[in-house]
């Protein structure tokens, strides 16, 4: 069983909220969630992405890989991505992978 994704967009900000299990089964859903913004803005420039993990119960390494893919497609080092509301277990997983060096985690 995997999770569900909801997306809300404003002018320059896309908020992607993941509920349930964030794993490899979410791959195409997650990609669809941000693809339009990236294509529409010519590589995601000036676009801000918020990954809201409020309802995320579990995250696996494939999900970490999806975050890396988003980062790459949104401009790598220029990407503006913030991961918010991760519960402690999930924050621990993000920090074990030292993702705080690649993403803003709040």
């Amino acid at each position: 069983m995997s999770g569900t994704i909801t997306v809300s967009r404003s002018d320059k900000e896309t908020s992607i909220s993941i509920k349930g299990r964030f794993n490899f089964e979410m791959h195409s859903q997650f990609r669809t969630a941000y693809q339009n913004e990236i294509d529409g803005s010519g590589g995601g420039k000036g676009q801000r992405f918020i990954i809201d993990l409020t309802g995320t119960e579990y995250i696996d390494s494939s999900a970490l890989g999806m975050l890396l893919l988003l980062r790459e497609e949104a401009g790598a080092n220029e990407a503006d991505i913030e991961i918010i509301n991760a519960r402690p277990e999930i924050r621990k997983i993000l920090e074990t992978a030292n993702f705080q060096r690649l993403f803003k985690i709040t």
Partner: protein
């Protein structure tokens, strides 16, 4: 569509036969169930119209036998019945009938039912074709996977020292291929390199990344590179070949029994745990680097943790599949359950088994969702050779010859790279007599690190004698090396053939201010009681070791005979 009519009522049979023939269907007829079954087998019709009450064998039994005889082909059977009660009709379906037609026959309904059955039959045959195609495909994939697995295990296992006496390991892949990769190999100086890598995902795609990783690990380890170098080079390779969304969480460990040190580089794996002689947790080393294959490494990323090794230490490392293993209730094993074993109540030599037993008891029959690995390094046995000895490596053997090599390293070079592997490789590629390599490596490594640590960096080995001093020594070394502005080390190797072997002279000169040769010898040799290595060791290996100048020039002579 070829149709078989089974009916003992000849009038009915004739009417049906005429109707169907007129619509262009070839027809065969039988007048009892037994003949019907026989005719079905010989004529292979596409549809059967079956009466119920007949002599010799009734319609129900005939239908059952027909269905049984062609399990893979869908042959619709339509019962011809005078009964219209629910139970009678239900019994037709139960016997394997697909539909029924009540007497007297209505031509339009008969045609409609036949064409409906024709559609189902076509659908069934398409499905059957697809099923066969899938099965062929699946067999093909399975076969390719088996070939891949064979290659994979050969590449990963060749030269793998997982049977080293100091290692206990357990790994449970969730599919044919293991996304967790565990490799171990001896360094030329006799230390042990161990690496546990956990690739994103599972199965084949995860295992593909394991191949370049294993090749680099063995190759670089054999050449004398440090785990920091290994991490950097593997990272670079993986970043180049793997897609963005894939990476490898990894931990590299170097256990050096003679130096009494454990070095750890942890990028993305769970905390490495060290237990003491009472089985109590004395140290955890969390991941402080990005996993491999994500971003280019900075100098900072190469940094390793150095721990002074105690003989009774046991080092534990696991992949996240262990703490994230779930039971039937969906609950995770978790870090706390794991750490609970390290309270000092479990005998240290049983920790490994106890953890595995506890995990199995926790998980029961729950489905495995990730690769799980657990590794233990028993430091007390780190000095022991594996039962089969080191894996043989093929090298060219050149007859003893005259040759000379000289290297000069400036401060800038010494800060940027460890030149030792380069020297060693040049030497090993030219003339590395079987059975002498490790000794030659040790002599070079010791003389070179003395020139650097004591000659140029002015470090005092006496600080290494206490635990605090041990760490302080490495911390100071790093600071002083980074601050090094001038100075150089020159290395000269000269080889002369002898009647039954050869003589290698190693001369290492540094630009440092040197030491009082008497003092340096006594206190460098004092190193023996701590590290077991040092100049005293070199002296036992060499035919001769002399110091010149202010002891800033060391000259060692090593004689070897062919074995």
């Amino acid at each position: 569509m070829k149709i078989l009519i089974v009916d003992d009522d000849r009038i009915n049979s004739t009417i049906l036969n005429r109707l169907l023939t007129r619509d262009g269907h070839p027809v065969v007829t039988a007048f009892n169930g037994r003949d019907g079954v026989a005719l079905f087998k010989s004529e292979q019709p596409d549809l059967v119209l079956m009466d119920i009450r007949m002599p010799l064998m009734d319609g129900y039994e005939a239908a059952r036998q027909i269905k049984e005889s062609s399990p893979n082909r869908f042959v619709p059977i339509i019962f011809l019945t005078a009964v219209t009660d629910d139970e009678g009709l239900a019994q037709c379906i139960k016997a394997g009938g697909d539909d029924f037609l009540t007497k007297p026959f209505n031509r339009v309904i008969l045609q409609a039912k036949i064409s409906a059955m024709e559609r189902i039959r076509m659908l069934h045959s398409v499905l059957q074709d697809q099923k066969e195609q899938l099965e062929r495909h699946r067999d093909g994939v399975r076969h390719e996977l088996e070939v891949g697995q064979h290659l994979f295990s050969n590449i990963v296992r060749t030269g793998n020292l997982l049977d080293a006496p100091c290692l206990n390991h357990w790994t449970s892949p969730m599919s044919l291929f293991n996304g967790d990769l565990l490799v171990a190999s001896y360094t030329p100086a006799g230390g042990l390199h161990i690496m546990l890598g956990d690739f994103t995902g599972h199965g084949l795609s995860a295992a593909v990344g394991a191949l370049p990783l294993a090749e680099l690990f063995y190759g670089l380890t054999a050449q004398g590179f440090s785990i920091g170098d290994l991490a950097e080079q593997i990272n670079e390779k993986l970043a180049r070949v793997m897609p963005t969304r894939m990476f490898c969480a990894a931990c590299l460990i170097e256990v050096d029994y003679r130096q009494k040190s454990i070095m750890v580089w942890n990028g993305g794996l769970p905390d490495l745990l060290i237990a003491d002689g009472q089985g109590r947790l004395v140290r955890t080393i969390p991941s402080n680097h990005l996993p491999l294959g994500i971003a280019p490494m900075t100098r900072e990323d190469r940094k390793v943790e150095i721990i002074e090794m105690q003989d009774d230490y046991r080092v534990f490392l696991h992949s996240d599949g262990l703490t994230e293993a779930t039971n039937i209730q969906g609950e995770m094993y978790g870090n706390e359950r794991l750490l609970a074993h390290f309270g000092g109540h479990t005998p240290p030599d049983q920790l490994f088994e106890v953890i595995l037993e506890d995990l199995k008891a926790f998980r029961e029959d729950a489905e495995q969702t990730d690769d799980v690995s657990l590794l233990e390094v028993v430091c007390a046995r780190a000095g022991e050779e594996p039962p089969g000895g080191s894996a043989p490596r093929s090298r060219k053997d050149i007859p003893p010859a005259h040759w000379e090599m000289a290297f000069a390293f400036s401060a800038a070079t010494l800060k940027a790279v460890d030149p030792l592997p380069t020297i060693i490789n040049a030497l090993m590629n030219l003339q590395a007599p079987e059975g002498h390599r490790e000794r030659i490596y040790t002599i070079l490594a010791e003389l070179f690190s003395n020139a650097l640590d004591h000659g140029l960096l002015q470090l005092d080995t006496r600080t290494k004698k206490t635990s605090e001093g041990f760490l302080e020594y490495y911390a100071q070394r790093e600071i002083r090396l980074a601050a090094l502005k001038e100075g150089h080390i020159n290395v000269r190797l000269a080889h002369t053939p002898l009647a039954d072997g050869g003589e290698l002279r190693v001369r290492v000169e540094d630009s440092g201010s040197g030491f009082d040769p008497v003092q340096i010898q006594s206190h460098l040799e004092g190193n023996l009681d701590h590290g077991g290595r040092g100049i005293a060791l070199v002296r036992t290996l060499c035919t001769e070791l002399v110091y010149h100048g202010n002891a800033n020039i060391a000259e060692a002579t090593y004689r070897w005979t062919s074995q």
